[in-house]
Symmetry: C2
Subunit: 187 residues, 2 copies
């Protein structure tokens, strides 16, 4: 029951499931692209910084290097199909934005828009890029963050309503399930 | 219904929930410490690299700088109380390892052990440290990864059995809920 087996250390699925986001970027001619990413996290609170790992061969990488901006779009189960396609089609070969029928949600601090219908959008400006293996860690400053008012509470998503989409593997996604609320500690 | 509100860009909860892990580290005298972390993700597959954001004031940070090693322990709801205490008590003030009654699961590639009863353990060696705001991004090489054989399938955790613990905010944790399995794409 409690016996362990060794797996390939390159099997990153051991750190999944994790939130699946849509990353919107724009080339210097204003053409939009979208990709799916779950290798995204906060890094620092003061000053605020988030980080996204982006494969250097991707169109999104080219765009981010060109314009220094992108949006992180937090999504739900209704966007799972979009996330899957955005994550498997190449922005170098097809116009994913058009193909997926996405509508822009205008940003205020940067030129790159969010996606209309997303649960939340973080407008990001690149701070620095750190090459790590086949990817770059893109460290960014969140310039402006918006959330759907009906889904967010003072301290985060209302998980009874906001079914934040998470990626498990391939075509398998999952949403948050049972909340575990610990009692206040006495010590 | 679909109206958006602006929140403080330093509110990192917009990128939660995300997996909650226990990070085990050791000082040069062999004294173990444990902290909770959800700012952890894969960065690169080839070569494999993971990254953890660690606050520079933490005991774990001191230990990682001293020994260059740590383990990432993947846990479930039965470890939520431990995660909460590991995340709120200071390793500079109390012996959290002892206080929490943790038992070591010996590592093979590094000296720092995992935690007996964890769903999985990644033995990590530090590759580099990148200062970002109040934290350092600790980029590490996963030297060896073990998982509970009854909980892991070929492509990741069996979420019908492995209720991977995720952190929402404060004392609120959540586990994965409903799986969304997309049909195979025809295109």
């Amino acid at each position: 029951m409690m016996s362990y087996v060794e797996i390939d250390p390159s099997d990153y699925h051991v750190l999944h499931p994790r939130p699946a986001y849509l990353i919107v970027s724009m080339d210097k001619n204003g053409r939009l692209n979208v990709m799916a990413a779950s290798w995204v996290m906060p890094v620092s609170e003061e000053p605020p910084r988030h980080v996204v790992s982006v494969y250097r061969e991707q169109k999104t990488y080219e765009n981010i290097v060109e314009t220094g901006e992108f949006t992180i779009n937090i999504i739900g189960p209704e966007h799972a199909e979009t996330a899957w396609k955005a994550g498997t089609l190449s922005g170098k070969k097809v116009d994913k934005w058009k193909l997926l029928g996405l509508q822009p949600l205008p940003s205020k601090k940067i030129k790159v828009p969010g996606i209309m219908g997303a649960y939340g959008v973080v407008e990001c400006r690149v701070d620095k890029r750190i090459p790590v293996g086949e990817c770059d860690l893109i460290i960014c400053e969140p310039m402006r963050t918006i959330v759907r008012g009906d889904l967010y509470q003072r301290y985060g998503w209302d998980l009874r309503k906001a079914q934040i989409l998470m990626h498990q593997r391939g075509r398998v996604f999952v949403t948050p399930g049972k909340l575990i609320i610990l009692p206040k500690r006495k010590t």
